[in-house]
């Protein structure tokens, strides 16, 4: 950092910056040179992009805070309408917070961009900010694309529109090319935050060591952790989470007195299988972190805590099962084969030619196809062996299957005009259901037919 020219910034602020922000020297330098000094006019809009957890928000925020620039940081996910976005910016500029006293309303109402620009000018003058640059940071800026179409171009040339010394900083995970509106717009300055490499991660993660242990000890731990997880995950947040979760286990032998802090090999042997297990469960959120902690405390080496995916089984009423099987069959089988599979006297189809066609593309690979309600019911009646009366309950079961997202309703035409559905379950699920029915000693013939029909 010695080569950085920090211009006229006070020395102590630069120092604290250095302390807080590591491994992002180049980016900080660029940003600083763009920002310039408070009274300088800065570039109207800056676009910062990079992967998750590459420090975009943190760097920008810390920089603006430490250098004491007037700024506003707004999360675009939270402000889902342009009105909310405007009001949030104005509120923050005024230091206004929502509370019971103001009945949770913002002090200034602005519905359009025009209102916003006018009000912004007022507020800036009132707050006496017009002689320095005001920074508006829009986090998760990719959401702007889905909002009103004038928002993005408007904010890009906000300096010009407001005729004020303001700079808008966009933070996003997506490249600028995906933002550019069709009608053209002001091009912002683009700044990329690259991913951290392994050494960077090691450095950053080692920083937050718990007070009761030495930094070196924690660094050793991080080294081991990265050895296991770096191939699958480079997300700093996730790694930090995993580090925090597994650390108690790591320092267990030290606390018990079995090993010393320097005894790296032994510690490694102790923690390695544990981390591998964590990769299968916690990392995938199969079990929650609190459950994981409890598991550690109980210290049982078993699979008594099952993850979310284990519970894939769904108990369904009898006819729902058959409706679902019928839906699957009609989604994955071409309609021309129905006669062959489901009618009793279908005539002979030459096996070879049929198979050849079938071989070309497996229907399973093509994904589910929409089918009309009539076809579903016809197949349903043919695979249920006993006679079924078409009661209202059967139809309501189709609707509840849609509500459970096992089927989806395709198209938006009304229900009267022959609704179409798609089956969204996979083969595994259907096989489980079908074999369950078989176990319940329903006629085997049906099942056999199912499997041939589903191309097995």
């Amino acid at each position: 950092m010695s080569e950085l020219d920090h211009g006229t910034y006070p020395e102590d602020r630069i120092l604290s910056l250095k302390e807080k922000l590591i491994c992002r020297d180049l980016q900080i330098l660029t940003l600083q040179s763009i920002l310039g000094e408070p009274h300088h006019y800065s570039y109207p809009s800056v676009f910062v992009y990079g992967h998750t957890a590459t420090g975009k928000t943190y760097v920008t925020e810390t920089l603006l805070k430490t250098l004491k620039f007037p700024h506003v940081i707004v999360n675009c996910v939270e402000c889902f309408s342009s009105k909310m976005l405007f009001e949030q910016i104005l509120n923050q500029l005024q230091g206004h917070s929502l509370s019971l006293k103001n009945e949770y309303t913002s002090c200034l109402q602005s519905n359009t961009f025009n209102d916003f620009v006018l009000l912004y000018k007022q507020v800036v003058h009132k707050q006496n900010l017009h002689n320095q640059t005001v920074y508006i940071v829009l986090d998760k800026a990719e959401r702007l694309r889905e909002m009103d179409s004038n928002l993005l171009p408007g904010f890009l040339r906000f300096q010009e529109l407001a005729d004020e010394n303001a700079t808008v900083i966009f933070l996003s995970e997506i490249v600028w090319e995906k933002f550019r509106p069709g009608t053209g717009c002001f091009e912002p300055l683009i700044l990329h935050f690259p991913d951290y490499n392994k050494a960077d991660l090691q450095k950053i993660l080692s920083q937050d060591h718990p007070p009761e242990f030495s930094a070196d000890f924690y660094a050793t731990y991080i080294n081991i952790l990265l050895g296991v997880f770096y191939p699958v995950c480079r997300d700093l947040k996730e790694l930090r989470h995993l580090a925090a979760l597994n650390f108690p286990k790591f320092c267990e032998p030290v606390q018990r007195g079995d090993a010393k802090e320097e005894d790296t090999r032994r510690l490694w042997r102790n923690i390695e299988p544990h981390l591998k297990k964590a990769m299968e469960t916690v990392y995938l959120r199969e079990i929650s972190s609190s459950q994981w902690e409890r598991l550690q405390q109980e210290d049982k080496e078993g699979e008594h805590l099952k993850g979310l995916s284990i519970h894939a089984h769904v108990e369904l009423p009898f006819y729902s099962k058959f409706l679902l099987i019928a839906a699957y069959l009609s989604s994955y089988n071409p309609a021309r084969t129905d006669k062959r599979f489901f009618s009793k006297y279908h005539g002979k189809i030459k096996k070879t030619s049929f198979l050849k066609k079938h071989e070309k593309t497996s229907n399973l690979l093509l994904g589910p196809k929409p089918f009309p309600l009539d076809r579903l019911l016809a197949i349903f009646y043919s695979i249920v062996d006993c006679r079924v009366t078409p009661t209202a309950n059967i139809f309501s079961q189709i609707t509840s299957l849609v509500a459970l997202q096992l089927l989806t309703h395709v198209g938006h035409d009304d229900q009267l005009n022959g609704p179409k559905y798609k089956c969204t379950t996979n083969l595994e699920f259907i096989t489980a259901i079908a074999s369950e029915e078989k176990a319940n000693s329903i006629d085997n013939r049906t099942e056999k037919r199912d499997f041939t029909a589903s191309g097995l």
Partner: protein, 760 residues
């Protein structure tokens, strides 16, 4: 009536006489055409009180069933923000505090029941943990804004109203209008800060109101997503992302109600979002187990006098197992049968506890006595009596009343013995391989209700299997039976049965002690008398046969070991019990009083078939209209039937596309001739079936038209149709379109497409 107005117009006159309009109460509908009588009212009130008892019973045991999952959920919510409350700056906590604690509650596919479960749950949370509970429905929340609005409205709205009620002078404020609230998480966070601060500083009214709740510094905010599957994934993702930004200030807890499987969470939320959650899984009771409990508490009990016949129970269970898995619907069905029983069966007056019944019997009118005499089961009973008694029963009301009282008491005793014996039998049969008499007690119960169970094949095969049971299994079964009998009411025959079982048990235990020596002895005997040796020497064929026969006989009649003998004894005893106590209820006199047997009514109400009803209405209008003019035989239809019926009948004979003009001609022809369609259908049948490729309905129409032309001279010239008829036709056709039988098509001009197939 006159008005003072000079202009013409419509005027509303309110009825001047302020006679109180009689508001019909439900009891007034409890008669069948006749004037309402005292007994009708009594029946209704009996129904109401009985249902009330049943409802309370259901609610109490449902609470018990859910207790476990609720307890664990409550403790989860309580512990989820314990760090935030205690303000411990724990390192490990600080490292992972950004996760939102989330409970994923898997409730099964019986969605109708969830409402009740969540209602109960949110009440519990409100009572014990926090007043801030919000329930969200997927249908109401299609955007993030709506979700936030709902949350804010629930949380803020409630508080504002409370304050208004309690401290009017302090807060002049009107309730927060929906529009003005800045609908964001920031408002919520502001509100929460205010709430916790005021409670901390302690305004007296607040403290008094909710001191129990506010004991913990910061009550969590619980947001319940009742049906996770119906939420739009994007909405959920955005909402969770927003929540995670505020988790430091707001102790949020999310509860997901999942109907299918927890994998749904992964399917709906990408890793970036699910990593913001700390999900813990809770599994609720399976709905089948729930049903078993319901049946055990409501059906297999003598607590309530009302009983279901086998068929009705079957209908209810089939709806449950085949259609919806919903316990709530099962209980509703049970209630409907109860209502239907009291409504349709006049003798249900006596369907109450024994003490009450005796009073009611005393007050029976003569008409009621006559009604009792006409009940089939009572008539059978009378037939079995000697002639003197028969005369007394049929003529003397007082004698009859005494006898009825006795019979009802017998019926009650019959039930009291019935259920324990049934449970014992179930203990025996439920452990058999392949469950010949059903795995669940409900299946066994239905079989027992419908016929003499000991005559069924399954029963004998079950007893064959029981005959092969090992010692320890049998002992275990006996022990279970004794437990069952102990838990039931202690009275004469049951105590005897229990003692008998205990005796058996004792014998088995003794058997264990002496078994080893016995075994040796048997072995000796076997060696001594082994006939195989005699086989060794050469004999002729006859001799051989004889020896073999003897061997077989000896093997069969070979003295059973003591264990086998004892086992046989137990089974015989069991069989005797079944034959004695598990008689079907039809054999009991006056069973009609307590058994409801209207299975078809229940089926019609609960498992409706709209399609069939529609077809019946269209093809047999007499069925619903009950007009003699419409009565027709076979598949015919008269020309007096409603237009839509005629049009429907005609359209049945067409192929996929129907020519409108020919259809109109067909209708005209049919109106001209009564009951023509029968012939016509016969004639055109061969045209329409067959391969189904070329169906020529047009020809059929034409022939009919020409035939009718000859007969009807008044008719206007060919091709010209009366305008009224035309209009009637158009209306009928559009009605058919509305009902979904046809739809307009662009394939051919002046044609409509048929949406149904078949037709005869």
């Amino acid at each position: 009536m006159a008005t003072s107005s000079v202009s013409r117009g419509c005027f509303v006159f309110k009825p001047k006489d302020s006679k109180k309009r009689k508001i019909p109460v439900a009891a007034d509908f409890f008669n069948k055409g006749d004037a309402i009588s005292e007994s009708d009212r009594l029946r209704f009130s009996t129904y109401e009180s009985l249902w009330q008892q049943m409802k309370e019973e259901t609610e109490s045991f449902q609470d018990n069933l859910n207790e476990k999952i609720f307890d664990s959920l409550l403790s989860f919510i309580k512990n989820s923000h314990i760090h935030l409350n205690s303000k411990v700056n724990d390192w490990s906590y600080r490292m992972r505090c950004s996760e939102i604690p989330t409970a994923a509650v898997v409730l099964g596919v019986n969605v109708p029941d969830h409402e009740m479960t969540f209602q109960r749950f949110s009440d519990l949370v409100k009572q014990s943990l926090t007043p801030h509970v919000v329930c969200l429905h997927g249908k109401e929340c299609t955007t993030v804004k709506q979700v936030l609005q709902k949350v804010l409205m629930h949380l803020l709205g409630g508080i504002v109203n409370d304050e208004e009620a309690e401290e009017e002078d302090m807060h002049h404020s009107t309730p927060l209008s929906q529009r003005r609230i800045h609908c964001s998480m920031a408002s919520l966070s502001g509100w929460y800060k205010a709430i916790t601060q005021t409670s901390g500083s302690g305004s007296p009214s607040k403290k008094r109101k909710s001191c129990a709740v506010e004991k913990e510094q910061a009550p969590p905010i619980v947001i319940i997503f009742k049906d996770l599957e119906t939420f739009l994934p994007e909405v959920l993702q955005n909402f969770i992302t927003i929540c995670s930004n505020y988790i430091q200030q707001l102790p949020l807890v999310l509860v997901f109600g999942i109907a299918t499987s927890p994998i749904t969470i992964h399917r709906m939320l990408p890793h970036a979002v699910s990593s913001l959650l700390c999900i813990e899984l809770f599994q609720s009771l399976s709905c089948r187990d729930h049903l078993t409990t319901v049946i055990d508490k409501l059906v297999l009990t003598t607590k309530f006098p009302f009983k279901l016949s086998g068929k009705v129970l079957q209908v209810l269970i089939v709806i449950f197992l085949y259609h919806d898995f919903s316990v709530r619907n099962f209980v509703k069905g049970f209630q409907l049968s109860l209502l239907e029983h009291f409504y349709s069966q006049p003798l249900s007056l006596l369907c109450c506890s024994l003490d009450e019944a005796s009073g009611r019997i005393r007050n029976l009118a003569h008409g009621d006595c006559e009604r009792i005499r006409q009940v089939p089961s009572f008539m059978r009973y009378v037939d079995c009596q000697d002639s003197e008694k028969q005369i007394e029963l049929l003529t003397n009301d007082q004698y009859l009343k005494d006898d009825v009282q006795k019979l009802l008491k017998d019926l009650h005793i019959y039930h009291e013995n019935y259920f324990p014996v049934l449970k014992c039998l179930h203990v025996f049969t439920s452990s058999l391989p392949k469950y010949p008499l059903g795995k669940q007690i409900r299946e066994l119960y239905i079989t027992c209700l419908e016929r003499n169970i000991w005559e069924t094949e399954e029963y004998s095969s079950a007893f064959q299997l029981l005959g092969m049971m090992a010692n320890d299994e049998l002992v275990c079964l006996l022990q279970k039976c004794i437990d069952v009998l102990k838990s039931s009411k202690q009275q004469k025959p049951l105590i005897d049965i229990r003692q008998k079982f205990e005796e058996f048990l004792l014998k088995f235990q003794k058997l264990d002690d002496i078994a080893p020596e016995m075994h040796d002895k048997e072995g000796d005997e076997n060696n001594k008398t082994s006939p195989e040796k005699s086989l060794q020497k050469k004999t002729d064929l006859y001799e051989l046969q004889k020896t073999l026969m003897e061997m077989k006989k000896s093997r069969r009649s070979k003295k059973l070991s003591r264990f086998e003998a004892l086992r046989m004894e137990v089974l015989e005893f069991m069989d005797k019990l079944v034959r004695q106590y598990l008689l079907p209820p039809e054999t009991q006199p006056l069973h009609e009083v307590v058994y409801f047997s209207g299975a078809s009514t229940i089926r019609k109400h609960l498992n409706a078939t709209p399609r069939t009803a529609l077809q019946t209405a269209l093809s047999k209008p007499y069925n619903y209209l009950q007009n003699e003019a419409l009565r027709s035989e076979g598949g015919t239809i008269t020309n007096t039937a409603p237009d839509i019926c005629i049009v429907y009948k005609l359209h049945l004979e067409c192929g996929r596309l129907i020519n409108l003009y020919d259809w109109l001609q067909g209708m005209r022809a049919s109106l001209a001739r009564p009951a023509f369609i029968a012939h016509w259908a016969e004639k055109s049948q061969p045209l329409c079936c067959g391969s189904g490729v070329t169906c020529r309905p047009d020809q059929a129409f034409v022939t009919v038209v020409s035939a009718s032309e000859g007969q009807d001279p008044d008719k206007p010239g060919k091709g010209q149709v009366d305008q009224v008829l035309h209009a009637r036709f158009i209306r009928a056709v559009s009605e058919l379109e509305f009902l979904g039988f046809i739809k307009p098509t662009k394939q051919k001009t002046d044609h409509v497409a048929r949406l149904t197939w078949g037709g005869f």
